[in-house]
Symmetry: C2
Subunit: 151 residues, 2 copies
Amino acid sequence: MLDELDRKLLEILVKDSRTSLKVLAQQVGLSSPSVSERLRRLEERGVIRAFTIEIDPQALGFSLQAIVRIRPLPGKLHIVQKLIEEIPEFGECDKVTGDDCFVARLFVRSIGELDHLLDRIADKAETSTAIIKGQPIRRRPPPLEALTGRS
Amino acid sequence: MLDELDRKLLEILVKDSRTSLKVLAQQVGLSSPSVSERLRRLEERGVIRAFTIEIDPQALGFSLQAIVRIRPLPGKLHIVQKLIEEIPEFGECDKVTGDDCFVARLFVRSIGELDHLLDRIADKAETSTAIIKGQPIRRRPPPLEALTGRS
DNA sequence: AGTGAAAGATCCTTCTT
DNA sequence: AAGAAGGATCTTTCACT
């Protein structure tokens, strides 16, 4: 599924996706062409979904984040889902089992904006909102070490 | 806060963080040194938190994701938080207002594993778990266009 | 803030083993 | 998968606007 070398490559790239093949190679003890081939396959397999940047919402003025649980009214599920997708302040949305149908993350610049956005859904779904006070764990990858047995 | 050019640079980098200065420059109509300077400042300001890769948990065998709401028993808050942080299968955790103290995301390879991990918290907190059935919106950046007025 | 040119460094890919 | 090499590509510096 993932050998020791792949795992190490991923770990390095998570920290800095611009790391060159050359540097990757010497970090894992392979040659550049080998690393190149491994990366190609990791992308092909879909393990590496994208080379991207992480943007800090706070630094852009989105000083508030909220977790919103959303329970669409009968018959409104698809409309609600579409609405959520179209509101760019929703930075994440999962469809889940249980009473709440969706759990979403909202980036806003003020309480007023939060209120305004929730109003847009208010007539199509029940919502429960929890303001985020802190992030003990910011988005991190699944445990790669659990896949190779090594740490 | 963010001008048109910065916004465009961020958008390009979100799609591919390996884009070279040269290409960035021609895409936004600036020179390489200017782009370099802008990136430097975006990093300095903390807007760009990291150049990283996005890993697909599914492709690694973590076929199940769950959202877990966690309410520590009296006096157990810190212990619970520490425990969560130490369990690498938690891929995200927010501290929120309301009855639930934490909302966390769990990556697991099976229901059995989910059960086992929740057991580790069971005596220190109440938990409510919702299995993720789909992801209408996968992690995406906050709306940059809302900051410049342009689309 | 930004430009343009230039120099030097670095890199990726190909080919052979 | 290694290793070497050729050729392309990039980043940074500098003088100037």
